[in-house]
Symmetry: C2
Subunit: 337 residues, 2 copies
Amino acid sequence: MSEPRKLEVLRAIVEDYVHSREPVGSKALVERHHLGVSSATIRNDMAALEDEGLITAPHTSAGRIPTDKGYRLFVDQISAVKPLSQAERRAIQTLLEGSDDLDDVLERTVRLLSQLTNQVAVVQYPHLSRAMVRHIEFVLLAPRQVLIVLIADTGKVEQRVIDVGQDLGDDALAGLRTRFLKSLSGTPLSLLPQALPAVVAACEPLRRHAAQALARGLDALASSTREERMVMAGTANLARSNVDFPLSIGPVLEALEEQVVMLRLLSEMAEDPRGVTVSIGRENPYDGLAEASVVATGYGPGSSAKVGVLGPTRMDYPTTMAAVRAVARYLSRILGP
Amino acid sequence: MSEPRKLEVLRAIVEDYVHSREPVGSKALVERHHLGVSSATIRNDMAALEDEGLITAPHTSAGRIPTDKGYRLFVDQISAVKPLSQAERRAIQTLLEGSDDLDDVLERTVRLLSQLTNQVAVVQYPHLSRAMVRHIEFVLLAPRQVLIVLIADTGKVEQRVIDVGQDLGDDALAGLRTRFLKSLSGTPLSLLPQALPAVVAACEPLRRHAAQALARGLDALASSTREERMVMAGTANLARSNVDFPLSIGPVLEALEEQVVMLRLLSEMAEDPRGVTVSIGRENPYDGLAEASVVATGYGPGSSAKVGVLGPTRMDYPTTMAAVRAVARYLSRILGP
DNA sequence: GTTAGCACTCGTCATGTCTAAGTGCTAACC
DNA sequence: GGTTAGCACTTAGACATGACGAGTGCTAAC
């Protein structure tokens, strides 16, 4: 029993099953793929693969289907990432180049990726840990209500309304603004928590209270900038692959809606040297995704933010991986300097 | 054959069907509801209702189920909006009062509403046509790149990066900012397009080009503020009511994802004097929602923005309508002056 | 290590039968 | 006229049955 052929058999099973959604038997295998041996031999190989937990039979005398472990081996060792067609690559390029705004870029990206893969696409907003304070604006909405706007040099803007706890005039607020801005301009958002107390301390005691409140607001803003968000598209594709989620797509939709779940999942996916990381079925840390796989990769500066797709475990991994990788590259290029 | 009893029968059919998801027959009807007549009489009534197109039989010798038209009559004339429980009302109040930010309020609202109704909840961002310019900020990101921030007195902030087409220093930009701000502060966003040319004209010819670009940017921002957005929650509820969408929930998910569709739908729903508007099944202008109903109402100043839920036609209208109405009221109160 | 052959296992499909639910109609009743 | 009882008729769904085919595992021979 040759080891390489066994892998070949596994590959064939995965490919056929992904293609037909039906358990694949030994006979069909020798017919469709010209392995140079008889079906009996394949049966032996399959028995061995089953012993190793790479494939499984839904019931006696049905063909075999890959297990999570089988997909894993397939993805890691057997499959070759299938390059995109020329047309597809051109589509990516033209579609993404037409956009300017960050929101717009990400929006287009997910749509594109979901169409390319026929799956749910997800993209995380870029991390802004390296972002610095570019501008701070305080706007008096009511005697005690102040709108704080924090602008990072990445172009990201965050705002929030707070209650400063004491009446403030426009002038007083402008004064505070200048003070904050002078001290904080250029400060990395990540260092804001440390930098704020000094600014507050330097304020006139009379306005200490308001300054305190403003500092708290800025702190919250900075951390909500760190706090991650994501964009998503193609949920309707889930309905099409309804059959692939034996129970229901409910848990999957829940996971997608609970963005926290997805974000943690994405960030926990270690970066793979091959460029794309795959998390298969029960490997996912969230139970609702036990029947789903996530294919993701980093993009942008430091590849810290993730872009990826989510679909049933029974997914065309080579093509999906190729699409994700390609999109991530274009994305990096466009967002890059 | 008494007209009132016929309506009573329709009501009973709708209620039972909504409750059991099964076609309801004449016998079951007389058992569950104490109409003072025999099943034979009910059968006559049912035949009449069927003739009028209010109910239909899926096949010979099954019970009847309401048609869209039947639901319509039920909603319009028969049903009484069921008041929320004390606990539910308290839940709404406490949950919504804990929030400050507009985004936060809307986010909480949809979550709450989707939980209350076990349906998909949708809320449109408030129209800002009456909003006025509170503040304008230009930030130089690169020699020619300027970040424009437009802050409305409603607390809404919009930003965008533009290319001004000529090199500008920080000072020059600050000058332009002051000029724009002085002229435009307090201008309703809706009047911005008319107000901008004058400001540009008043600028020094040297900076005319940049001013032109900035004005275009502001115009775009103002209109993108007018442009509508929405928040949504509870899509996972669709999966649970999978059975209610005979074909697939795919088209529904598509409609939800294409926010344009939903927004048009919401805005086309005329305001109903009773407070809540319902659009049932094929009444919806979008084919993918032929099996779905939307229950919505306006909120906020002028009730111009909409909040509502989407679910299968087989939906508990009285409760849903009550929930939507209650949530809209709290929402108006919180966002109110 | 590979192959052919064969007995055995099950899921699937087509078929047939039976039952319960529910209707529509007719004739009697108030 | 509206209401009722009764009955023949229709049909979906549940269930059993059996043939079929796909597929396996094993053994013995190559």
